[in-house]
């Protein structure tokens, strides 16, 4: 029997069998698989429920306070819930200012470090540097707070004085009660300020921004980089022409993720600032406040209604960070698809 015959007969044998019962390459879903799928879905639903519960319970607890104040909750700068005179105007401004200072300081640092790791640093050093950035993100916030309170604060007074002396004409850098020409003037007007808190928070959020940016920069297409080098570009030329345009989404998204983290920071801010309940636009001046440190400060001695008011403040913070973070992750996700490198 020749091989041709054999294959022909095999063909003849298999042909009717295949047409009657086509073998589809799908795994059989047995009982075990169905149970498995149900378990996994249950886990997903549980996680979703926990995350939804955060918002729902805050809202439930906050309704009592929100009913009393209504819209003025957003415009009142005082915090006296027991006489029904309270609002988050001051603390929300403080939160935003601290976060803005933090992002303004951390953005150049994070961008520089991310570019350094992705393009400039010696190859052998890169893994170590990435690990160091990750470690920086894992350092507990209370440790940053300690450092800010006992180390940075005393060293930053000179900087604050210098800024207010030379740039005090810019409204938000003005400091009441400062005596610029007087070397022996009290330095206490410069401590416990938005600026100091912002600097500490900047160190805490920089690693998050840096790792997001680095990830996006590392994905910049190798072909385009090499093309730029082949055309005679310098390393900075490649960064300008390829890496930065490609990574723009990651830069925006990473910065906003850092902003979201900065808005929610509690303990470091609580340790550093001295709380005030007025809108404090002078960032170098002592006294500031944030929503999270307000909660940490008042939860202990709050009445039932005061607790409800704190829950409302927490809800506002929650919604704010959620909005910032949703925007950030959608920007990052869009940049990862590489859609921008085509343009």
């Amino acid at each position: 029997m020749s091989s041709a015959d054999a294959s022909a007969s095999a063909e003849a044998d298999s042909e009717p069998w295949r047409s009657e019962d086509p073998v589809r390459p799908t795994a059989v879903r047995g009982f075990g698989d169905r149970v498995f799928r149900w378990q996994l879905t249950a886990a997903g639903v549980t996680v979703l429920a926990i995350m939804a519960a955060v918002g729902v319970f805050l809202l439930l607890r906050a309704t009592a306070a929100l009913k009393v104040t209504g819209f003025s909750f957003l415009t009142t700068a005082q915090w006296q819930p027991d006489v029904h005179h309270f609002g988050i105007a001051a603390v929300l401004t403080g939160t935003l200012l601290i976060a803005l200072v933090a992002v303004a300081v951390s953005f150049p640092l994070a961008l520089g470090t991310a570019l350094f790791i992705s393009d400039v640093a010696p190859r052998g050093l890169r893994r170590t540097l990435v690990a160091m950035v990750d470690l920086m993100a894992a350092v507990p916030s209370v440790v940053y707070g300690l450092w800010g309170l006992f180390f940075l604060q005393t060293h930053v007074i000179g900087l604050s004085r210098w800024l207010s002396q030379w740039l005090g004409w810019i409204p938000f850098l003005h400091v009441d009660g400062a005596q610029p020409g007087e070397p022996l003037a009290s330095s206490s007007v410069y401590t416990a300020s938005t600026f100091v808190a912002g600097l500490v928070v900047a160190l805490m959020v920089a690693p998050i921004q840096c790792s997001v940016m680095r990830e996006v920069f590392a994905q910049a297409p190798l072909g385009e980089r090499e093309g730029a080098y082949a055309l005679g570009a310098t390393r900075w030329g490649v960064i300008r022409a390829v890496v930065l345009p490609y990574g723009r989404g990651g830069m925006i998204g990473g910065t906003m993720l850092g902003l979201g983290r900065a808005l929610g920071e509690t303990i470091a801010v609580y340790l550093i600032i001295s709380p005030v309940f007025t809108i404090q636009p002078h960032i170098l001046q002592t006294g500031a406040n944030s929503v999270s440190s307000l909660i940490a400060l008042h939860y202990g001695d709050a009445s039932d209604f005061g607790m409800s008011a704190l829950m409302a403040a927490g809800l506002a913070l929650f919604l704010l960070t959620l909005a910032v973070n949703f925007t950030a992750s959608s920007v990052v996700a869009r940049s990862r698809s590489g859609a921008q490198s085509e343009a």
Partner: protein, 407 residues
């Protein structure tokens, strides 16, 4: 370019005659990166002149003062001088490249020196409390604020941290990993929705997590503040972090491995259990450990849900419990120097704990899914040899002699 066009004129000047007589210099490949002698020299020269000009301005000539202004002036001078020195030899793009390289180096060194300062300062200030052995074995029940460091310690906070993080891990690890597998294995509109929510929740302010547990557990159910509540609060905060990291790792498992398992007819749960999870094991462990490091350091959820205590409490279900970060927080709020020293000691212990966890995570992780360490490769080879042996043994007696006995 300029040199070549001007060559007849320039050739007269004897200083650069050698350059000019070459009519069309061959293209030199551009040096990108790497050290050269002139580069190092101009860097040193620029640094020296930056420093000198700043000292001159601040000490003698101008009424400037302050360390910050000094740094700014010195750095600006340094950059300018460096640009000028580089410009003596190189063209415009190269100058920009060199200057920006220096700027990137300085940005990275500022950030990393910040990290070194934070860690170093904490460990340095912790040196007063750490040599006392009782610091690790006693609680603060018998020690007042004025007592010396040889009395009282943070044993209660260490135990509390251990208990709280165990509770949080007991919740987070199974639930988080199952959810990550769900996101990977059962794609669809709903799992995309879950993923979006989880990603948005990674930036959940930790105090909001504490507030939520406070609202449900303490105000809603009327239970007292306890270690259990703090464990819940920490796990609410840790869950999204662990899920997200595990999700990324699971996505990296090579598709060929799962396809091979499916082709052999394995049901999905066996594929996940025997192929996907073992392949991603090191990455998953890293995700869990990094989440743990973050959870251990959280103060504000614990602050709201655990309460303060100076006594050792090993029962998470009843009575207040304290954790290391919360102990640091309460110690340093005291004006007494010994209490502040205790706070730094506790912070140093916490920092050491995070460092150890981080090192472990780097040691077992750090490799992509499917890449094995040498030991793992050896073990796999040994197992595979055993399997070959087993198959051989199975087939060896398959002689007609024993055929009857098998049936």
């Amino acid at each position: 370019m300029q040199d070549v066009e001007d060559s007849p004129v320039v050739a007269v000047a004897d200083g650069i005659a050698e350059e000019a007589v070459v009519p069309d210099p061959p293209d030199q490949p551009r040096r990108i990166g790497g050290l050269s002698r002139t580069g190092v020299l101009s860097l040193c020269g620029a640094a020296a002149s930056g420093l000198c000009i700043a000292i001159l301005l601040f000490g003698q000539l101008a009424p400037l003062s302050g360390a910050f202004g000094f740094t700014v002036v010195a750095y600006a001078t340094f950059l300018t001088v460096y640009a000028v020195l580089t410009g003596l030899e190189e063209d415009g793009p190269a100058i920009r490249d060199k200057v920006m390289t220096v700027v990137l180096w300085s940005a990275a060194s500022v950030l990393f020196s910040g990290l070194v300062l934070v860690v170093g300062f904490t460990l340095w200030r912790g040196r007063e409390a750490l040599p006392h052995w009782n610091f690790f074995t006693q609680d603060m029940q018998a020690a007042g604020p004025l007592d010396p460091l040889s009395n009282g310690g943070i044993a209660h906070a260490m135990l509390g941290t251990l208990i709280m993080i165990s509770i949080a891990l007991a919740i987070t690890v199974p639930l988080g990993l199952a959810c990550a597998v769900y996101l990977n294995q059962i794609p669809g509109a709903f799992s995309r929705f879950v993923r979006t929510i989880v990603e948005a929740m990674t930036a959940l302010p930790s105090i909001v997590a504490g507030l939520m547990v406070y609202a449900t557990w303490i105000l809603g159910l009327g239970l007292q503040k306890s270690g259990l509540a703090a464990g819940f609060a920490i796990s609410v905060m840790m869950l999204p972090i662990v899920i997200r990291a595990a999700d990324v790792v699971l996505r990296l498992v090579p598709g060929t491995l799962t396809e091979a398992a499916e082709a052999l007819g394995a049901p999905r749960w066996r594929t996940v259990w025997h192929v996907i999870l073992p392949t991603a094991r090191s990455g998953l462990a890293t995700a869990v450990i990094l989440g743990t490091a973050r959870g251990i350091g959280e103060t504000s959820p614990v602050l709201l849900t655990a309460g303060f205590t100076a006594a050792l409490n090993a029962d998470p279900t009843a009575g207040p419990m304290i954790s290391l970060p919360l102990a640091v927080f309460s110690f340093v709020k005291s004006p007494e120097p010994t209490m502040i020293a205790r706070g730094f000691g506790a912070a140093a212990v916490l920092m050491a704990l995070v460092l150890v966890l981080f090192t472990i995570a780097r040691l077992i992780g750090g490799r992509g899914a499917g890449h094995r360490s040498k030991g793992q490769a050896r073990r796999a080879a040994r197992a595979s040899r055993r399997d070959v042996q087993r198959f051989d043994d199975l087939h060896a007696p398959a002689l007609p002699l024993f055929d009857g006995e098998n049936h």
